[in-house]
């Protein structure tokens, strides 16, 4: 069951736009995720987090915007949070987004679903546990991540409702 929550204040949060990423202790937010997915990694022992606004599952070798693709975002964020692969199991992941906003368009493309699948595959390869997710469906989501407050993640929807994962 999800308990209704007050959305945290976003003024001081780093705004992570499409294809961007951030590593640190500061609050981070991505507005209006549709088929994009917020990849959120958290190291509880150090209270450090990382987040990327992933738009597509595969970079096809492109390097210019690592946060934009599932594969490059993982390659960048995991080592930034955990320089030693043995430390990976202390990192936890949360995923949000990956919706399909239009029934008519892109149904066969299913970009949202493919983004989520790709991220789950890479997380499993790196032995990083997914502790919470709010993915799929037909809804937009605004995500706010608070590393300094135990890695809490708040999700707001267009109807104004807010819950924590």
């Amino acid at each position: 069951m999800t308990v209704p929550e007050q959305e945290p204040r976003k003024e001081n949060a780093v705004m992570i736009g499409i294809g961007e990423h951030c590593v640190g202790k500061t609050a981070m937010t991505s507005i209006g995720l549709g088929s994009c997915v917020a990849l959120i990694l958290y190291d509880e022992s150090r209270k450090i987090g990382a987040m990327a606004h992933v738009m597509l599952p595969d970079s096809g070798g492109k390097q210019d915007r690592p946060g934009k693709y599932a594969d490059t975002a993982m390659k960048l964020l995991v080592p930034a949070l955990s320089p030693d692969p043995l430390h990976n199991r202390k990192i936890t992941a949360k995923l949000a987004g990956g919706a399909s906003m239009f029934e008519y368009f892109g149904k066969n493309l299913n970009i949202g679903e493919r983004n989520v699948e790709a991220l789950k595959k890479y997380l499993a390869e790196q032995k990083i546990r997914i502790v919470a997710e709010d993915v799929g469906g037909k809804v937009g989501r605004t995500v706010t991540f608070l590393p300094e407050e135990g890695g809490k993640v708040f999700i707001k929807r267009a109807d104004g409702s807010c819950h924590q994962i």
Binding site: I18, F102, F105, V139, T142
Partner: protein, 204 residues
């Protein structure tokens, strides 16, 4: 992506002609005067799209550009929830503003969008001398950014910048406002610019 001032002017003029035709159809449907803003043509980095379309709830009627240019990009008619309600209320002679958007509003929005976007594309295509047709419409009633980023993600040619045409149409009498937004594929944009430059070339 960089447009020269002349290309930008030409694109603006094209949007202006299209939007004027769309405004006329909206004016007929609302039976009231509709004003339009000067179209804004902007190259926007994808990471900053949230500055133009945020997390607020909006109704967006989306069309894919078809015709001579297949998969040409998207045209969007974007209205706030309040404007959507006022628009349906005006057309159906109702006054209740304190209600959720229902199926009737949805079909009204699809129809209004269809008529306006067809007028927009007819006028621009005629100027360019090509055929541009809208696909059947799709509707999203959710966060504006969520719908729009999904369109960017499914562009055939992947981009880091998008060119946005935006014109605001307002009906003072009924307090209705909406935006027409065009998101062309990179190839479509090149083709349109080439056609416009052809039109502007001296015909001696």
């Amino acid at each position: 992506m960089k447009l020269t001032p002349i290309q930008k002017d030409a694109m603006q003029e094209l949007a202006n002609i299209g939007a004027a035709h769309a405004a006329t159809t909206l004016s007929q449907m609302l039976n009231s005067q509709v004003d339009m803003s000067v179209p804004v043509v902007n190259v926007v980095d994808i990471s900053r799209v949230s500055d133009c379309l945020g997390e607020e709830f909006a109704a967006m009627v989306v069309f894919e550009l078809q015709g001579e240019i297949s998969h040409g990009g998207y045209v969007v008619f974007h209205v706030s929830k309040e404007s959507a309600l006022r628009m349906t209320n005006t057309m159906l002679g109702m006054t209740d503003m304190d209600r959720p958007l229902n199926e009737m509003d949805q079909s009204a929005l699809l129809e209004v969008g269809n008529i306006m976007v067809s007028a927009f594309l007819d006028a621009t295509a005629e100027l360019l001398g090509i055929v541009m047709l809208p696909s059947p419409p799709a509707l999203s009633m959710d966060m504006a950014h969520a719908a729009f980023e999904s369109l960017i993600a499914q562009l055939t040619i992947e981009v880091n910048e998008v060119l946005l045409f935006k014109t605001e149409l307002t009906c003072e009498e009924h307090k209705v406002a909406g935006n027409l937004i065009m998101l062309p594929e990179a190839e479509t944009l090149e083709k349109i610019i080439a056609l416009l430059e052809g039109l502007m070339a001296p015909t001696s």
